[in-house]
């Protein structure tokens, strides 16, 4: 990990084994050598490492990365650790490939380590009988290093007595004899996984790694995450395979995976430990690979063949429907039906031409079907964050897919080479689809030529970055330096207010953010937001993959594509005004509990006056009658004074229901009301997320029938859809629940009005 800051400081030029390279100040020699020598998968950094990994803070304890350093012609007497030493202008670095004293030193260190290392043959044989597994040849980094340097049998004799192997853990065996104290497991456990279990015990030659208070691993607070094991360069931490359940059929052996291009650079130990996490599946034409709404937390990689991806749920939303042709208000036949937007136009949705799904393609609203071929990976979000499948995938031809588990996908995205591959794949195949799905680019799509130009413009300018659960992407008040498009995951947008954090909104896949801070140079925006400064804090809610466009590139984009600029300006103005309105409202009445319960912003809460209410439940019945027999309100809830706020959607300030919708079909209107778009696939994620239980899942007939083999008759096809209070209107313009109350106890009112009613805020003076 380099501590490169690169902010403003001029780049530093140096030579490594005669090769010139220029890197940002603060880069380490090792990273500079990577820059100079590693251009593609398979290239090798001339500097060997043992204790260092790119994703770890360097500790420089093994010293095998030792290099000879001269600065401005003056050779340093001692050798420097390349993983930790930062570059300097005019530095001349010589590695073991060009310097004898470096080669001698590195070979000597390797020989020292080997001298106390268990005899590889004997150890392997012993472990084969003991544990039924071995690490496998060619994957021990110390042995590999010895081979690379031509270090053979060590001339030093072995120092220590054979120590016992700690087999107390269910999944990992600890062999202190093979431990070289590289500190990788320690950093893996403490810094990477934050489990804080592994440390060192003792001092000097007797130092060992230890768990907690030097307890046996199995008795310690270890959670067996396996990160230490996959970080271990030798055979000191090995997986105890035999205790794991048998790998499923179709499991691709670790040897084969190690040779598979997709897994380039992934540690063999990791693949061994995760055996069974990659399964090869064959599908016949027409087979269903996965179904929308299902929870099965894996991703797929297409090796061969083509698949079709589509949303099978009808694109309709829930609409109330009075009995057909009825004229008699007392004989209402109430029903809920599903309506498409052709029949029932909803505002703001007409712009939507494409729907983002958990795949490198987008679906057209009017024809939600796409195909994917070899090399595509889909289901990443389902895999990384356990979201329901966003679409149904069916084999279009006979095809072969690799089904990949979460651990494996995670490591692919972390490995240098595998990530580079994934990123390139995104740039070449998925970028244009992704842009089509992004709302702000929607207008561009109508001009196909210009859209193509846009994609070509952005292709070399996008970087893929990953943010972990809970990490801040940027903070309110930070200087704005980039624009982001969400590829997978959810992002929370919030502002710091007196009294706490205020959530403005949540963004999911296909959404973008960060443009406002970059548009300060545009007159229309300048007056609404401070230029160059982030107006809100964005935080990853789960595993988030972002596409990053640097500030200068973004501004260039606006300059070169006036229609995009126009689209962005309109969008930014809408957002800023909306935020301002919300904040004004919050500032007016900041009310702790009332606010926290989401009531203040509630547009129309059902309030029951308990002094009048006889608990007759007519309101609930009326709601059920109006909505296909299923009530959307429950006569329970919070009490304020003599009022009961019944459970129904409150249009909360913090609309958590929006997080996790795999197809982005639940969203907020400008009025803060929550609506569910008609491409809801009925997965139930929003209902699960609503803290007040106010979103319900209901099956609705789709109008289609299928023949049921068991019942031997046709049955209607039902579709689950999420529903929330739709503020149905009765004859007198009131919702049916209010209309039905025989005691004048049910009222619909705004949250803020309720607050005044119960006297927690003063009534504002009437406006003259």
């Amino acid at each position: 990990m380099s501590s490169a800051n690169g902010n403003g400081a001029p780049p530093v030029s140096l030579t490594i084994d005669g090769r010139k390279v220029s890197v940002p100040a603060g880069t380490t020699i090792y990273d500079a050598a990577t820059r100079a020598f590693v251009k593609q998968a398979g290239d090798r950094n001339p500097i060997p490492i043992l204790c260092h990994r790119e994703h770890m803070t360097p500790v420089a304890v093994c010293r095998v990365c030792t290099v000879d350093v001269s600065v401005n012609g003056r050779q340093e007497f001692r050798l420097a650790p390349a993983c930790q030493r930062e570059v300097a202008e005019g530095m001349e670095v010589r590695t073991h490939e060009t310097s004898d004293r470096v080669r001698n030193a590195v070979s000597m260190l390797t020989e020292l380590l080997l001298a106390d290392y268990p005899d590889p043959e004997a150890a392997r044989a012993a472990r084969l009988t003991k544990q039924g597994q071995s690490r496998g040849e060619g994957n021990d980094e110390l042995i590999e290093l010895a081979e690379r340097l031509g270090v053979e049998n060590p001339r030093f004799s072995r120092s220590r007595r054979e120590k016992p192997i700690d087999e107390s853990s269910m999944v990992i065996a600890v062999d202190h004899n093979a431990c070289i104290l590289c500190d990788r497991c320690i950093r893996a456990c403490n810094d990477i996984r934050n489990n804080h279990v592994i440390g060192r015990t003792g001092k000097g030659y007797k130092t060992r790694i230890a768990f907690d208070l030097d307890d046996p691993m199995g008795d310690s607070s270890c959670v067996a995450c396996g990160e230490c094991m996959i970080s271990c360069p030798t055979g000191a931490l090995l997986s105890k395979h035999h205790v794991l359940s048998r790998p499923p059929a179709g499991t691709v052996p670790a040897e084969e995976l190690a040779a598979h291009p997709l897994f380039t650079g992934v540690s063999k130990a990791f693949l061994d430990f995760n055996e069974g996490a990659v399964v090869r599946k064959h599908f016949r034409k027409g087979d269903v690979i996965c179904r929308e709404g299902d929870y099965d937390a894996t991703a797929y990689y297409i090796e061969d063949g083509e698949v079709e991806i589509f949303i099978s749920s009808p694109f309709k939303h829930v609409k109330n429907h009075r009995g057909a042709g009825s004229w008699n208000p007392f004989a209402l036949v109430r029903n809920s039906l599903l309506a498409g937007r052709g029949e029932d136009r909803r505002d703001e949705e007409m712009d939507t031409e494409f729907i983002s799904i958990d795949a490198p393609v987008v679906l057209r609203y009017d024809k939600p079907v796409a195909t994917m071929g070899p090399g595509a990976i889909f289901g990443e979000m389902a895999c990384m964050s356990s979201y329901p499948r966003s679409a149904t995938v069916v084999a279009q031809t006979d095809c072969t897919l690799l089904e990949v588990g979460r651990n494996v996908l995670y490591i692919l995205q972390r490995g240098k080479f595998s990530k580079a591959q994934l990123d390139e794949r995104y740039r070449q195949n998925a970028l244009d689809n992704h842009l089509r799905g992004a709302t702000v680019f929607a207008r561009m799509v109508k001009n196909e030529d210009e859209f193509k130009k846009l994609v070509e413009f952005l292709r070399p300018r996008v970087d893929l970055v990953r943010v972990n659960n809970g990490e801040v992407i940027f903070r309110q008040g930070d200087p704005a330096d980039a624009y982001y498009l969400i590829r997978i995951g959810f992002v929370k947008v919030s502002q710091e207010r007196p009294g706490g954090e205020f959530v403005l909104t949540y963004f999911g896949p296909g959404k973008s953010f960060g443009e406002i801070g970059l548009m300060g140079h545009i007159p229309e925006i300048r007056d609404l937001a401070p230029p160059g400064i982030r107006t809100a804090t964005c935080t990853a809610l789960d595993h988030v993959d972002l596409v990053k466009i640097k500030g200068e590139d973004f501004r260039l984009l606006l300059e070169q594509f006036p229609s995009v600029q126009k689209s962005f300006i309109d969008y930014a103005i809408t957002i800023l005004k909306q935020n301002e309105r919300m904040l004004r409202q919050v500032n007016e009445d900041s009310l702790g509990d009332f606010l926290q319960q989401g009531l203040m912003n509630a547009q129309s809460v059902l309030v029951l006056d308990l002094e009048k209410c006889t608990r007759c439940d007519e309101c609930t019945k009326a709601c059920a009658d109006s909505h296909g027999g299923v009530t959307r309100l429950i006569r329970e809830g919070l009490r304020f004074d003599r009022f009961l706020v019944a459970s129904s959607c409150r249009s909360c300030l913090d609309p958590y229901c929006m997080v996790g919708c795999p197809v982005n079909s639940i969203r907020r209107r400008g009025s803060l009301e929550i609506i569910i778009e008609d491409w809801c696939i009925g997965c139930g994620k929003c209902a699960e997320n609503c803290p007040y239980g106010n979103i319900n899942m209901h099956p609705f007939p789709t109008g289609q029938n299928v023949f049921d083999e068991e019942l031997r008759r046709k049955v209607p096809v039902l579709q689950q859809k999420a529903t929330t209070c739709d503020l149905c209107r009765e004859l007198d313009g009131q919702p049916s629940c209010v209309y039905a109350c025989p005691h004048d106890a049910a009222h619909r009112m705004k949250g803020s009005d309720l607050a005044r009613e119960i006297g927690i805020v003063a009534t504002p003076p009437p406006v003259r």
Partner: protein, 591 residues
């Protein structure tokens, strides 16, 4: 914080019970492995309940030359007599206790005893077993008329007064700082811990750092075998250290000063703490120094122990509640020191010279050197000399002067065989160095035309001269008489480094162990030429690649043995040919 908590637990229970550590972990919110890492690193902390009486005999060079090994065997026999199960009395070795001039030194239940006979020690052990209070061995604290003390033993803090008097009332700046730094520069004062870094550059470097928080740390972790001059200085003139700390603090604009002292120096800790209280009451440190409105508090930090803590960055790690493992440098402490803030770290003696230099001028100090040397230094001399002790001598003093005039000559009429001018870390020099073993520039300067040998008695003890002959001058001077076995001594010194290695980097952790094994094999007549050469090239790798000074100097005893004492080595070499005997390699428990 953590170190102090562990100290308190150990004091209460005699060791660190696991349940108490778990409770501590919950209370402080510190993971268990962090507590264990620290507790298992410092030998001072015990993780298991030990014997009732713990007797530790120094096992390092000066004590060994004065019969520590037979003494240890004798006390072990006593322990076995008292209780054969070992539960009552446990006798073991310990690294240098800094009492080399009163060798041998022994710790009985944390009380330091030195210069006692075996019968005297036996009676102490019997009292300890009977749970009678153990007497303190009080050392003399009277001033010695040293030139370093401009006040003759009565603290007056005139240097601090002189500096704060230069305060510009308008800007609040101390206008005298430049003059102070100039006098340090003129004096040629360099780091007295052995690294010899110019003091004025270090102070100016920290002064120029932009930071709200800066520290001054005094390195009083004197632990190198043969070195004990700081012990005398701390005890006899602690006021000079406090004054030097304040001068450094005001110069650098530092916020706080810590005096880090090894925990075995009970009396010295007491003396320094008294001096700090006294200075505070006189207004020379703490708040509002001499009415200037400037403050600089100073306090003592008691080291949890270990030679490695004398490595400045390891010392900082220990102060930050971690294992005392040296940091990779750069960055240096002047930029990122204690808690990542700019920090002046100076040896005790370095800081103590600064008041006199500031008061008397840089030239006063510089011009006291002889034979081309500059300035004065305190030399700890021990080993086979008649009067071991601490002497204030000029740089450039010849070995002849030091050994035969100051230290009263060799003990028992022995002839001088070798010197170790920097304790173990510099290795040995023979009395006659052959011309071809010396660098050309040195030969040209110091050897007469046609002279085949350089007589070590003529060697001016000056850091630059020593460096010119690829050696080093530290604060420890050990004289070795003709009866000593140099192979055994080299093994002893190498064992010291192996025992004190922190274990962080590979070259030092494994290298020092392999060197010990090979020297042990040599001593047993089981090492051939080929493997001796291997040991030498291992030594070169350790010098080039170790993180800190410990690993970089650990091969010096062996390398100097091979270079200067071929006859001693030859007497032991295995000439049988064939494969080397492998028995020597069995790993023996250390301690």
């Amino acid at each position: 914080m953590l170190v102090q908590e562990l100290n308190a637990l150990q004091k209460r229970f005699g060791y660190l019970p696991a349940d108490e550590l778990k409770e501590l972990s919950r209370r402080l919110g510190v993971p268990l492995h962090r507590l264990h890492e620290v507790a298992s690193f410092f030998p001072h902390f015990k993780l298991k309940k030990g014997a009732d009486v713990e007797v530790l005999v120094c096992r390092d060079v000066s004590c060994c030359l004065r019969g520590a090994e037979p003494l240890r065997q004798g006390l072990k026999a006593l322990a076995n007599e008292i209780d054969p199960t070992g539960k009552s009395v446990h006798v073991d070795g310990v690294s240098c206790l800094g009492q080399c001039d009163h060798a041998p030194a022994v710790l009985i239940n944390d009380q330091v005893y030195y210069g006692l006979t075996e019968p005297q020690l036996r009676s102490r052990i019997h009292s300890a077993v009977a749970r009678d209070p153990l007497p303190h061995q009080r050392a003399d604290r009277s001033p010695q008329g040293w030139k370093i003390d401009p006040y003759g033993g009565t603290p007056r803090y005139e240097a601090v007064q002189k500096l704060v008097a230069t305060r510009d009332p308008a800007s609040g700046a101390l206008l005298g700082i430049d003059a102070l730094l100039e006098s340090l520069k003129e004096s040629t004062l360099r780091g007295m811990g052995g690294a010899r870094f110019p003091t004025h550059i270090k102070w100016a470097a920290v002064r120029s750092q932009q930071s709200d928080t800066k520290y001054v740390v005094c390195n009083g972790d004197e632990s190198e075998p043969g070195t004990f001059k700081d012990r005398e200085l701390l005890r006899r003139a602690p006021h000079l250290l406090v004054e030097g700390m304040v001068l450094a603090g005001l110069t650098a604009g530092a916020t706080k000063g810590y005096i880090y002292i090894r925990h075995e120096y009970h009396e010295e800790i007491e003396a320094v703490e008294e001096a700090i209280r006294d200075a505070r009451s006189r207004g020379a440190c703490g708040d509002d120094i001499f009415g200037s409105g400037l403050s600089f508090p100073v306090e003592v930090f008691v080291s949890p122990g270990g030679y490695i803590c004398g490595e400045e960055s390891a010392l900082l790690e220990a102060m930050e509640d971690r294992r005392a493992e040296p940091r990779n440098k750069p960055p240096f402490p002047t930029v990122k020191g204690l808690f990542n803030q700019p920090t002046i770290i100076n040896n005790v003696e370095t800081l103590m010279w600064t008041p006199a230099i500031y008061l008397n001028g840089g030239a006063w100090y510089r011009d006291q050197g002889v034979n081309g040397g500059q300035g004065l230094w305190f030399c700890s001399i021990s080993g086979d000399v008649r009067d071991p002790g601490v002497y204030e001598v000029p740089f450039g003093i010849t070995v002849r002067d030091l050994v035969y005039r100051r230290a009263g000559g060799m003990a028992g009429g022995q002839r001088l065989k070798a010197i170790a001018p920097s304790g173990p870390s510099g290795g040995f020099l023979p009395t006659l160095i052959p011309r071809n073993a010396l660098p050309k520039t040195f030969v040209e300067k110091y050897l007469p035309e046609g002279g085949a040998f350089f007589d070590i008695l003529d060697l001016p003890l000056d850091p630059d001269v020593l460096r010119g002959m690829e050696g080093m001058l530290g604060a420890a001077f050990v004289a070795v008489g003709e009866q000593a076995d140099l192979v055994a001594l080299a093994l002893n010194l190498t064992e010291f480094f192996r025992n004190e290695s922190c274990g962080k980097c590979v070259p030092c952790r494994i290298g020092s162990q392999k060197l010990v094994e090979m020297l042990r094999a040599l001593k047993a007549g089981q090492l051939d030429r080929e493997h001796l050469d291997l040991a030498s090239s291992l030594g070169q790798t350790m010098i080039l690649t170790s993180i800190c000074g410990l690993g970089q100097v650990a091969p010096n005893p062996l390398l100097s043995l091979v270079k200067y004492f071929p006859d001693d080595v030859d007497a032991y070499l295995d000439r049988r040919g064939g494969p080397p005997v492998r028995e020597f390699s069995a790993f023996e428990t250390m301690v």
